[in-house]
Amino acid sequence: MSINDLFNNELKVVNIGLKSFKEDLERVNVRSVHMDWKPSFDLAPGVMDTLQTHSSEIEKANEKAVKIILNGKPFLTGIEKALEVIPGMKKNLILHAGPPVTWEKMCGPMRGAVIGALLYEGMADNPEDARKKAASGEVEFSPCHEHRTVGPMAGIVSASMPVFTLRNEEYGNSAYCTMNEGLGKVLRYGAYGEEVIRKMKWMETVLYPVIKKALVKTGRIDLKNIIAQALHMGDEVHNRNRAATSLLYRLLAPAIIRTAGDPQDSARVLEFIHGNDHFFLNLSMPACKATLDAARNIASSSLAVVMTRNGAEFGVQLSGTGDEWFTGAAMVPDALFFPGFTKADANPDIGDSSITETNGLGGFAIAAAPAIVQFVGGSANDAMNYTLAMYEIAAGENNAYQIPYLDFRGTPTGIDAVKVVEKGILPFIDTGVAHKEPGVGQVGAGVLSAPPEPFSKAVEGLAKKL
C-alpha cells in the first residue's frame, strides 16, 4: 500500500512496544493489535547472521522433519523385559531421564530411584550398599534417550524391568518405556522403601504377564488414535491422562479377562489401571519418542527432537545436530503444591516427559485440557493463550492432535529452535513436581518455560554445521 493509499484507507495498527499507545488508539476507535514482543536470546557473534543466510535451507529441512513427525504412526506392540529389547541394555546399566549425568551430580530423587533399582535388581543388599555401588563405577549410567527409551521423572530403567515396546509403523523405528507405578511412594520420585520394591515385583510378576498376554490377544494398538481422541476428551497426555487411560482400559479389559487365567489377577490388574490416571503417560511418552526419533539427523534442521531434564540440567537435541546434547540449568516449576509443601521443597525440573511437548502435546496442547487450567492461572482463556503462543515457535500444526476449542485446529507441533531464539519465546511445559529429597514423592504439579540456554547453545551448534 503506497503512502497515498494509506491516506485513503482506514488506519489499522500493529502496536509493538508501549501498551499505552494501544490504549490511546482504542480511545480514538482505531483498530489495532498489540504485539507482545520479547528480545531474541543472546547468541555468539555471527550466529544469527549464519542462521539468516541459511534460512531457506533450514526451512526446507524443517518442512521435511515436520512431515516425518506428522506421518508418524506409533503403535503399542507388546511388553518385554528391558534387557531383552532395549538397544545396548546391560545388567549393570541403569538408564535415567534427561541429558547425561554422573552419580555425583544426580539430584536427590534420581539417586533415590537408582538405589531402588539396585535393590530391585538384587545388585545391592541395602541402601548404603547401593550408594557405594553406584559411586564405585561398577554400575554404568546412560540417558534413556540414547537407548530409544523414555522415562517419567527420574526415568530409571534397569535390566529386569518390563517395558512397553512401541513401533513407528511408518518408519520402522521402536521406542520403549516402563509401566507407570501410580502415585504415592514410587520409584520415579526417588522412593526406594520396601513397599516400593514390593510393588515393582508385583508389576514384574503379575501385571507384566497379564498385560503381555492381553496384548497378544488385542494385537497392536494404535496410540495416535487414542491420543487424538483423548485430546477431544480433555487430556493433553502429559499432566492429564485420565481420558486416554480410560480408552486404553476399554480396549484391554476384555482381553485381560479372557487371557489372564486367574480372575483375581485380572481384577487386580484392572483395578490397578483404573486407580492410576497416569497409566497412559508411559504410553504417550514413548509414542512421542517413536514419532520424533524418525525425524532425527536431517541436515540443517533446527527442529527439536528431544527436550528433557535430569533434575539438574535441561537438555535439548536438534534433528540437524545428531546426538549432541545442548544443556542448561533446569529450573524449579511454578506449581500448585500439595498441602504441607512449598516451592522450597521442590526439585528442579526432571523427567523425559517433556517429550510430549516436543511432539505438540502436553503444555503445547493445554488448551485442550480445561480441567487442569488451575495450573496455568485458573481460566480456560489462560490455557488457550499458552497454546496460541506456542504456534509462534512451532514449525507446523498437527494433523491428528486437535484442540476442539480452537475449532479443531491442529496442535502446534515441531519446536523450531531458531524461532525460539529469535522470538524469545520458550517452550511451555506442564509437569509434575518432585520433592528434592529422595523418597518423599510428588509434591505438586505446575508449569514452567524451558530455560533459554540450551536453545541458544543448540542453534549455535547448528550454525557450526551450516
Binding site: 500493529v14 512496544g17 508501549l18 480514538v28 483498530r31 498489540h34 520479547k38 536470546f41 489462560d382 509462534e392
Partner: protein, 559 residues
C-alpha cells in the same frame, strides 16, 4: 553517599519492557531507607547507567540482555531484601494481568498480521537496539512504520528508509514522537480538526505546536507526518521528508503544505528545493534558525517561528478554499474574481504579519510592567522545556531580544552548559535529552524532574523568569495541573519569602479537544499565578523582553 552499600539481584531470563520496570522502580524508590535504586534489563547501556549512578555490582557485569537486574542502594540489608520481595510481587502482578488479558497478544509481526491481515501501520516503541530490526520486519510485510524509539543506529535508519523509499512506504522516525495520520493522533499528538493543511516535520514538538495552533485558529490538518530529526542530516538526506512532502503534493485532501525542521544540511536543502519546485501547491517552511533567503527565492513562504508558520499556513488555507469555488465561473468574471482573491490572499498574509507585530508590541509593554515588580538583582532566564523544538525556538527568540543562552542543546558549542544540572546566567534546558530521560519516563509524562528543577531555580536570587512549556494531548501526562501546579505555587512562594517576584511564563500546546482540555489547563495555570502565553514563541518573547529590561542580557547578541 559513596559509602552506602549497593545490594543487587539478577533474575535470569525474565524480560519486562522498560515502562513496566520504570513503574516498579518508581514504587520501590519510595521505600523508606532506600537512597537510590534501579530495576533494569542487563543490557550494556543499562549497565553503563548503573555504573554512572553508582549502582553497579561485580555480579551485574556478567548479566546478559535477557537478565533482569535489581539494584538497591541502602544502609540496611533487610531493607534491600524487602525491596527485592516487593519487586517480585509487583512483577508477578504485571505478569498476571498480562496473562489474564482476554485478548491473545501475538508475539511476532507475522502472527499479528494473521489476526489483522489488513493492518497498514506498525507503531514501534521498543528499545532502540531492537526497534530497527522489528521495523525492517514490518516494512518487509508491507507495513508503513512509525518508529517512536530513539537510539536506533544511523546505519539502520538509512537502511530502513532506503527500503521504504524503494517500496513506496514511509518510515516516520526513529525518534518520531508524533504524527497524525488520517486524523488519528499517533503516540504524542493532539486532537486537531481535520482540514487541508498537510504537515511534514523533522521536529516533534514543532509538529504538535503547528498542528495545535492551526486547529485552534479554526483551520485543520489533512496529514501530519513526522520524520525524526536525523532525517534532514546529510547521511539520511531527507529521504522521508521528501517522500512525505511528495505524498502530500499528490494527496487530494491537502491544499497547503507546511514544512517544519531545524535547518537542513545544505545538500539536503538543495535536494529538497529541487522537489519543492515541482510541487504545485503553496508551501510554507519554517526551518528554525535557518537562512530563509534561498527558500524565498524559490517562492516558498517562510517563517521564523512555529507560530508564524502556522498562521501563514492558515491564511493560505483560507484563500485556497475560496479559490476552489471559482471552478464554476469563467471568462472575465473569473479573472476579476481571481484578482480579488489574489488581493485577499495578500491581505491575509499581511494581516498575519500585522497581527504578530501587534502581539509583539503588547508583549513588550507587558514585559515592562512585569519587570517593575522584580527585586534588584533579579535578571536571568531559566527555561525548562519538555519539548526539544521549543527549547531551540526559545533560544533563537531570546538571542534576538536579549542575548546568548547557555543550554544542554546550545546554538553554539561555546554555550554548552558544563553541567546540565546546573544553570548559568541565562539558561535553557531540554529535559527530553538522554542525560535526563535514561531510565525515566519522558518529561512530558513525568514532571517530577522538572518540578525539582523549578524549585532549585526559584532559590536563585538572580533568577527573574522561569520559562516553561506544557504539552498536552495523547501520550503525555493526563493530569498536568495536578502535577505541576504545586511546584509553581511553591516556587513563587519561596521567591516571595525572599521578597522576590518570580515570573513563571508558559505556553500550553494542545487543543480543547485533547483529553486534558487546553482551556481548563490554562485556567488552572493562571490561577496558580503562572502567565500563560498563546504560543511558545510568544512566551519566549515575553521572557526575552523582561530579561532585556532587567539588564540580564548581554554576553554577545541582543540589540
Amino acid at each position: 553517599m559513596a559509602d552506602v552499600p549497593v545490594f543487587g539481584v539478577i533474575k535470569k531470563g525474565e524480560y519486562f519492557d522498560s515502562v513496566t520496570l520504570m513503574l516498579v522502580a518508581k514504587k520501590i524508590g519510595e521505600t523508606e531507607g532506600v537512597v537510590d535504586s534501579a530495576v533494569v534489563m542487563g543490557t550494556l547501556e543499562n549497565k553503563s547507567i548503573l555504573e554512572a549512578s553508582g549502582l553497579m555490582t561485580a555480579e551485574f557485569e556478567k548479566a546478559r540482555d535477557t537478565d533482569l537486574l535489581i539494584a538497591v542502594k541502602t544502609g540496611g540489608k533487610e531493607i534491600a531484601e524487602d525491596v527485592f520481595q516487593k519487586v517480585d510481587i509487583y512483577l508477578k502482578d504485571v505478569r498476571k494481568s498480562d496473562r489474564s488479558a482476554l485478548e491473545f497478544s501475538p508475539k511476532s509481526v507475522e502472527s499479528a498480521l494473521k489476526l489483522m491481515p489488513d493492518a497498514n501501520m506498525a507503531l514501534i516503541s521498543l528499545a532502540g537496539k531492537y526497534a530497527g530490526d522489528e521495523a525492517m520486519k514490518s516494512l518487509r510485510k508491507g507495513l508503513h512504520v512509525m518508529l517512536f524509539s530513539d537510539n536506533v543506529p544511523l546505519e539502520k535508519e538509512i537502511e530502513l528508509k532506503k527500503y521504504a523509499r524503494n517500496n513506496g512506504l514511509i518510515v516516520m522516525g526513529p525518534d518520531c514522537g508524533t504524527a497524525i495520520i488520517n486524523g488519528i493522533p499517533l503516540a504524542f499528538a493532539n486532537a486537531v480538526n481535520r482540514g487541508d493543511i498537510g504537515v511534514v516535520a523533522a521536529a516533534g514538538t514543532g509538529l504538535q505546536e503547528v498542528t495545535s495552533i492551526i486547529s485552534n485558529e479554526g483551520a485543520g490538518i489533512s496529514q501530519a507526518i513526522g520524520t525524526g530529526g536525523r532525517d534532514m542530516k546529510k547521511e539520511v538526506g531527507g529521504m522521508m521528508f521528501i517522500e512525505g512532502m511528495n505524498a502530500l503534493a499528490r494527496d487530494g485532501s491537502t491544499n497547503v503544505i507546511l514544512l517544519v525542521s531545524k535547518p537542513p544540511h545544505p545538500d539536503v536543502l538543495k535536494k529538497l528545493l529541487g522537489h519543492i519546485k515541482k510541487v504545485r501547491k503553496p508551501v510554507v517552511a519554517v526551518f528554525l534558525g535557518g537562512d530563509n533567503d534561498l527558500l524565498e527565492r524559490d517562492g516558498i513562504h517562510t517563517a521564523s517561528t512555529l507560530e508564524e508558520a502556522a498562521l501563514r499556513a492558515v491564511a493560505i488555507s483560507k484563500y485556497e478554499a475560496r479559490y476552489e469555488n471559482l471552478n464554476d465561473v469563467s471568462g472575465e468574471m473569473k479573472i476579476a474574481m481571481l484578482m480579488r482573491e489574489a488581493s485577499r490572499y495578500m491581505q491575509g498574509l499581511e494581516s498575519v504579519a500585522e497581527r504578530l507585530k501587534t502581539s509583539r508590541s503588547k508583549i513588550a509593554h507587558r514585559a515592562f510592567d512585569e519587570s517593575k515588580k522584580m527585586k534588584t538583582g533579579q535578571k536571568y532566564l531559566r527555561g525548562l522545556f519538555s519539548g526539544g523544538t521549543f527549547a531551540s525556538e526559545a533560544q533563537l527568540i531570546f538571542k534576538e531580544l536579549a542575548g546568548e543562552v547557555y543550554s544542554n542543546i546550545p546554538l553554539k558549542p561555546k554555550l554548552k552548559l558544563k553541567n546540565p544540572l546546573k544553570s548559568e546566567r541565562n539558561t535553557v534546558i531540554d529535559l527530553g535529552e538522554d542525560e535526563f530521560t535514561v531510565g525515566r519516563a519522558h518529561p512530558m509524562i513525568d514532571y517530577s524532574l522538572r518540578n525539582k528543577r523549578i524549585m532549585e531555580e526559584a532559590l536563585d536570587p538572580e533568577v527573574a523568569v522561569i520559562l516553561l512549556d506544557l504539552v498536552i494531548g495523547y501520550g503525555s501526562n493526563m493530569k498536568p495541573l495536578e502535577d505541576i501546579v504545586p511546584a509553581i505555587r511553591q516556587a513563587m512562594q519561596t521567591a516571595a519569602g525572599d521578597g522576590r517576584r518570580l515570573a513563571v511564563i508558559t505556553s500550553v500546546t494542545g487543543t480543547d479537544k485533547d483529553p486534558q482540555n487546553r482551556a481548563a489547563v490554562i485556567k488552572g495555570l493562571e490561577e496558580a499565578g503562572a502567565m500563560v502565553m498563546t504560543t511558545n514563541a510568544a512566551a519566549a518573547q515575553f521572557a526575552g523582553h523582561i530579561v532585556k529590561i532587567l539588564g540580564g542580557g548581554r554576553l554577545g547578541g541582543g540589540k
